[in-house]
Structure formats: structure tokens, C-alpha cells
Amino acid sequence: MIIFEKVCKRFSNEHIGLDDITLRLERGEMAFLTGHSGAGKSTLLKLIMLMERPTSGQVWVGGYMLSKLRRGQIPALRRNIGVVFQDHQLLFDRTVYDNVAIPLLVSGYNPNDIGKRVRAALDMVGLLDREKLNPLALSGGEQQRVGIARAMVNRPAVLLADEPTGNLDPDLSADIMQRFHMFNQAGTTILIATHDLGLVKRMGHRVITLDKGHLYNQQEQMA
């Protein structure tokens, strides 16, 4: 589903983001991406959803060579990738409900379906009673969960999460991870960047470790 082939990413200030990454994530696989901050986790995720373009090398997602996608095709790619952002990327000028509905609106869903899907997604993260609130009125953890609901609302084929449990207490983190596990069971390909190593170990999925832009090692840990 996601293939990196000799991918390098250099930033304009000569900082090396990623160096010679070759990586393969199968359809329906769930993996954790770990490493210190600055190791290139976020950069790797950004390459997958074309927020950044690699300096060299190729990235395939869903059978598409990303370097060949035209500008106009990027939205179609992103509709198939749900992303949980580290900084949530919520809009504070509208309700929780409207925030979660955005991916459905942009993909042209039937307005009658939107309500059902949004409530299902909010129910999944346990925020059904908050749908009319402004995200500003929510705690950091709740905002994070709104972000997760928005990432999952249109049931994308791929889910990327950048530190999805960064602001959550351990119980909630475990709960959210359980949800991700469930999505994965339903067939979604999931890549989660996190530095919560304890949680990663407990979950027992594949771990991809980055160190200063290099691929450190890949260990298959099947539970």
C-alpha cells in the first residue's frame, strides 16, 4: 500500500530530513513509526500525503507513484488518506460536528448521509455529546479525539497519525490505540508516529524506527 524507495528529503537549509529510506507497508498492515523528535517521523508522514515532495527517490501509495500525480490529483489522494495531526488542525470558527463533517463535504457526500456518518465517528471517539460545542471549549485530549474522528469519518483506505496520543492520559491512550486496532481489523492500513514506546510494545505491531533520518531497524513483533 505504501512503498518508499530510496527516498531522500533535504530541506532548503541543508538539514537532512530523511536519508535513503526504503520501506514497504502492506495493505491492511498496522505499523508504528518511532524515533526521537527530529528523527523525520513527521516528514515521512508528510511525504505520504504530499504535503512535501521528496528530494529524490519514489513514493507509491495505493499503487500510485506520487511523483507522477498532477496538482489536480492531490485532493483525490488525500481523500483516501485520513490524517490525525499533531497540532489537531481543527477550525475554531465552527462546531465539533462541522469540523468532523469537512472531509465528507469536500468529497461530495449526500447531505443526508453526512449526519449519520459524523455522529458514528463522534460516537466512536466518545464525543457524541460534544457535537454542538466549539473545539476551543474542549480539552487537549478531546480535541485530539475530534481530530481522530475527522480522520476516520470517510473511512479512508490509509490512516496516518502523528502523535495521536501525545496529549492523552494512559487510559485514554490505550483506548484510542484500541480503536486504531479496530480500524485496522476492518482493513485500514495504519501508520502511527509516536514516541510512547511502552504503548507500542504492548500493542505488538510492526515498529519502524527512524534515527536522524535513517531507517534504524525494522522488527516484526507479531503478538
Binding site: 502492506e26 495493505r27 491492511g28 500525503m49 495505493g62 463535504l105
Partner: protein
């Protein structure tokens, strides 16, 4: 391989959205690739993924095209409504923009209305270009009438009217208000006049006729009272050119005014645009609200421009009509007609949308996440 060919076709057919549909349909390719590497359980997972994906794809496809259009229509209505309410939220700022548009557009609209009316006024009299043939003094009435008969036979002449010196004096008394002064004169100083209406009123034909008639022995002098018409026509042409130039300038300034307003809107909603783009909003989806803002600004500005023009008409119509009556013209200043109204409003809307399009297009490139 077959699968791949099929995908290629599907891509061609559905164009841009192909990336979505083919993705949903093609787990097969990936499966072929990965089968060798994969454990059995993963293949199973793939299958479930495939089924799920297929179900999703089918659901989206089976929606009839009528339903599809209904959704699009609902979306447009919603976005248009939001754009309008966004204008209403900042009434003062919006009013300023609308005033700028309305007043600017009223300039060429008013000028065009004035020119049209002048043309109508000029056109009304140009059909009666007259040559006044002043006959030799002392030419008898009978001889003058003979000449009139001759001229009436001329193929280039439409109508000839004879004004005898007596009639001429009577008319002069009546219109000049110098009746008593004229009584002091011993005899009638006015010559007989033949008023000739040519068939062809183009300047060249008229001057030809003038030359020909000037050679007649009985004619002392010829006056053609179309000089002022020529001047008016020249001025109207000048006015029309000025209108074209002014319209170009106004179009540019309206584009800039709308552009600037939209630019501010885009900057204010930068965050929202970023998020919408991150979850897969296309450029057209992101631009739509701004295009509708441009549409509303254009529409309101156009209506205002029309109102301004109409007000000016009310202010001018009375005096114009009384001026026309002084020239014994039946001319009535016409109200901006339907075509003008449509042109002003539709043009304004077009300008609003165009300005919004270019600005938002340029701005969105800068926001690209």
C-alpha cells in the same frame, strides 16, 4: 494485466476523479505484488479490505446522476448562502466595497445613457437636413413657384417648400419677438426662400446637391443647416471613444477592488483553507465560496450602479425634456432600458466573479500545504 488495462480505461472515462475510483477498484494490483511476500492471514485482511472498498465504491457509483446534481445544487446553495451571510456580517466594510463598485460602474453606465440619448436626439433631426435656397431679391412669386416645380422633378430632392418674403417676415416676427422693430422698416428685407429636403442625407450627397443648386441663376445663396449636426456627430464619436476608454479603466478598477476584497477574505480564512486542502478539498471546492463572494459583490454593485444611473436620469430627464422642447424636438429622454439594465448588472456580476477567480487562484497557490 487485464485489470490494469481496465483501470486505464476507467481513468480515461472519469478523468480527474479516476484516482479515487481506480484506487477503490484496484486492490488486485497490490495483491499481485504482495502475494509473494505475504503471509496468508494478510491476504485475508486484504480480502476484507477489498470487499469493504468495493462496497464503498458501489455505494458512491449507484447514486443516480439526478441525485448527484441534487447534491451539487444543495452544496452551491449552501455556499452561496454562506458567502452572502459573510458579506452581511461586516455590513460597513461590505457596503464600502459595494459603493466603490456601484459608483465606479455608474460612470460608464451614465455616459453610455447620455450618449444614447444624444444619438437619439441627433438621429431624430438628421433625417430632415434642409437646404435653404435664398432666391435673388426681386424674383417674382410666379418665377419662384416655377423653380419650385422644376426642383420637385429632380430625382435627388424629396420635398420643396416655398416661403415667400411675406411669409418669411411673418414667421420672423412671430419667433423673434422683434415685431415692432420690423414695423420701422420701409419694405420687406427678406428674400424668398425655397426649402429643399434632399432624399439622401449623407454629408457627401448633400454637399453635391448644394453645389448643383448653387449654380442655378435664380439662387443667391445656399445655407445647409447640418453643420451643427456634423459637429454633434463628431462629438458623439469622440464621446463613444471616451466611453470605451473609460469602460476599460472602470473594468480594471472593479477587478482590482473585488480582487482586494477577496484577497482579504482569503487571508482571513487561511487556516480553514489549509485544513480543507489537507482533508482532500479540491481547488474548485476551496475557491467556490470566494467566487460566490465575488458574485454577490458584483450583483449588489451592479444593482447599485443601476440605481445611481436611474437617479441621475430622474435628475436630468425634466431639464433635458424642456431643453428639447426649446429646439421644437419631440425628443424624450429615455429611461435606461432593459438591455442596459441587464448589461450593467450582468457585466458587474461577471467582473465580480472574474476578479474573485484570479485573486483566489493566485492566493491559494501560496497557501498550498
Amino acid at each position: 494485466m487485464i485489470q490494469k488495462v481496465k483501470d486505464g480505461k476507467a481513468k480515461d472515462r472519469s478523468g480527474r476523479k479516476a484516482a479515487v475510483t481506480t484506487w477503490r477498484r484496484t486492490p488486485q494490483i497490490e495483491l499481485d505484488h504482495s502475494a509473494a511476500h505475504n503471509a496468508k492471514q494478510k491476504a485475508e485482511q486484504n480480502n476484507t479490505a477489498k470487499h469493504k472498498a468495493r462496497r464503498g465504491a458501489k455505494k458512491r457509483e449507484t447514486g443516480s446522476s439526478a441525485q448527484h446534481w441534487k447534491i451539487i445544487f444543495a452544496l452551491h446553495r449552501q455556499v452561496a448562502g454562506e458567502a452572502l451571510s459573510r458579506i452581511m456580517v461586516t455590513p460597513i466594510a461590505s457596503l464600502m466595497t459595494i459603493l466603490v463598485l456601484g459608483i465606479t460602474l455608474a460612470l460608464p453606465a451614465t455616459l453610455s445613457m447620455t450618449l444614447e440619448n444624444l444619438q437619439a436626439a441627433a438621429g431624430g433631426t438628421s433625417s430632415v437636413v434642409r437646404l435653404a435656397l435664398y432666391l435673388d431679391e426681386g424674383l417674382s412669386n410666379t418665377k419662384a413657384l416655377d423653380l419650385k416645380k422644376d426642383l420637385q422633378g429632380d430625382p435627388a430632392i424629396n420635398k420643396v417648400t416655398y416661403i415667400s418674403p411675406k411669409q418669411g417676415l411673418a414667421e420672423f416676427e412671430k419667433f423673434s419677438g422683434l415685431g415692432q422693430a420690423l414695423d420701422l422698416l420701409d419694405d420687406n428685407p427678406l428674400p424668398g426662400v425655397l426649402e429643399v429636403e434632399p432624399k439622401d442625407t449623407t454629408p457627401l450627397a448633400v454637399s453635391n446637391l448644394q453645389n448643383r443648386l448653387g449654380r442655378l441663376g435664380e439662387v443667391n445663396d445656399i445655407r445647409v443647416d447640418n453643420e451643427w449636426l456634423k459637429r454633434l456627430h463628431a462629438m458623439l464619436e469622440l464621446g463613444e471613444r471616451a466611453l470605451n476608454g473609460l469602460t476599460t479603466l472602470v473594468v480594471l478598477s472593479v477587478l482590482l477592488a473585488v480582487g482586494n476584497t477577496i484577497r482579504l477574505l482569503v487571508v482571513n480564512r487561511k487556516e480553514e483553507i489549509k485544513v480543507v486542502k489537507l482533508v482532500g478539498g479540491s481547488d474548485s471546492f476551496v475557491m467556490m465560496p470566494f467566487l460566490y463572494s465575488g458574485f454577490w459583490y458584483g450583483l449588489l454593485g451592479g444593482v447599485l450602479a443601476w440605481l445611481v444611473t436611474a437617479c441621475l436620469w430622474f435628475m436630468l430627464a425634466d431639464s433635458a425634456n424642456s431643453l428639447a422642447s426649446l429646439y421644437q424636438s419631440s425628443f424624450q429622454m429615455s429611461f435606461p432600458d432593459f438591455a442596459t439594465t441587464v448589461t450593467v448588472i450582468f457585466g458587474s456580476v461577471l467582473l465580480g466573479v472574474t476578479g474573485a477567480f484570479f485573486t483566489s487562484w493566485r492566493q491559494l497557490r501560496a497557501i498550498d500545504p
